[in-house]
């Protein structure tokens, strides 16, 4: 993937601000339970905004930075084509519908929170959401299962945040440099 030259780029249609908004708006509307596969389909295959190599490259950047991958991706793509107005159109398009839906659900929940049927429904939903998160954690940690240094860092992170309930900022400022240092020792 790293060897893919920039000449691989296919023909592009640079989107305007309106197209950026509608593209990400539809993505926000349809992306249930993970937007990433749909995002690639929309930007690379359907609308031809980016080549496959450009998409992977931008995703690598967005994973590396703080914030959600797709949120960062919308900002990066908007900026790339139309500057700051493009970035605003993209991110607003992406979060408009989900924000409205989530608040609608919140209103319904707060109206009926004391109803036993609704309480049971949300009890099951919350348990299922927890199950999904467990599955995500397993999938992320699985490639590290034979990596002693990696597992040490995973364990320290779990211990600090889940067991000792330490604040995130000092934990991250300790763990991230430690992990990067250990990796650089491995590499050399």
């Amino acid at each position: 993937m790293d060897a893919a030259p920039a000449t691989l780029t296919t023909k592009h249609e640079a989107p305007d601000v309106g197209e950026l908004f509608t593209g990400f708006f539809i993505l926000g509307l349809t992306g249930f339970g993970g937007v990433l596969p749909l995002a690639r389909h929309m930007m690379v295959e359907k609308r031809g905004w980016l080549s496959s190599a450009e998409f992977t490259d931008l995703l690598g950047l967005c994973q590396f930075l703080p914030g959600g991958n797709i949120i960062n991706m919308s900002v990066a793509v908007g900026l790339k084509f139309r500057g700051i107005p493009g970035a605003l159109a993209s991110i607003l398009g992406l979060i408009a519908v989900p924000t409205a839906v989530v608040i609608g659900l919140g209103v319904i929940y707060s109206q009926f929170a004391n109803d036993p049927v609704v309480r049971h429904l949300f009890g099951g939903l919350a348990a299922a959401a927890a199950g999904l998160l467990i599955s995500t954690a397993i999938k992320i940690a699985w490639p590290l299962r034979r990596d002693v240094v990696g597992l040490l860092i995973v364990t320290l992170g779990v211990l600090a945040i889940a067991v000792l309930r330490l604040p995130l900022l000092p934990t991250l400022l300790t763990l991230a440099p430690l992990s990067i240092f250990l990796r650089s020792r491995q590499a050399s």
Partner: protein
């Protein structure tokens, strides 16, 4: 009210810049702030808001506007969304310009490799904290375990798993 909004803005701006590895890594800190530090809601309510956000379409950080709405209504939605998505977007904008220059540097790969286990540890911690708040009876333990196993071992759609959990929960079996 203004004090609450300022506090919300500070909390979510900090979370925005700390969210290496995506939104799931900052859930325990978000819960610690809104439940333990500021007492805006109970841990169970936070678990319910997280579940609602997972059931909604779009990116997985929709719990952010929902927490804002719960604490301070529509101004809370605006403040938390801006604070959560603004700082990380600015960082993305600046980083985009530097990206080409650093793309092939070996240290970038080392940093990236170093952040992987940190992300894995934080997501695992999130899973533990959220499970601890959301799962309390044998019925919900079975639902969480079933969904975890099904979505890890099969390619079942996450929304289908959530719907199954909601339906099983609706039956009230194994819940107080």
């Amino acid at each position: 009210m203004t004090a609450t909004l300022v506090t919300l803005a500070l909390i979510f701006a900090e979370l925005s810049l700390l969210a290496f590895g995506g939104g799931n890594t900052i859930l325990p800190e978000m819960q610690r702030q809104v439940v333990d530090v500021h007492h805006w809601m109970s841990a169970q309510e936070f678990g319910a808001l997280f579940a609602l956000a997972q059931a909604a379409p779009g990116p997985n950080m929709m719990v952010v506007p929902l927490v804002g709405w719960h604490v301070a209504g529509f101004s809370g939605v605006l403040v938390t969304s801006l604070a959560k998505f603004g700082p990380s977007s600015l960082v993305t904008g600046f980083a985009l310009q530097l990206w080409e220059r650093f793309k092939d540097r070996p240290w970038r790969k080392t940093v990236q490799a170093g952040l992987v286990p940190v992300t894995a540890g934080l997501v695992a911690a999130s899973a533990i904290v959220i499970t601890h708040t959301s799962v309390s009876s044998w019925g919900t333990i079975l639902i969480a375990a079933g969904v975890a196993i099904a979505t890890t071992t099969t390619r079942i759609h996450p929304l289908l798993a959530l719907a199954a959990g909601a339906v099983l929960g609706l039956s009230g079996i194994g819940q107080p």
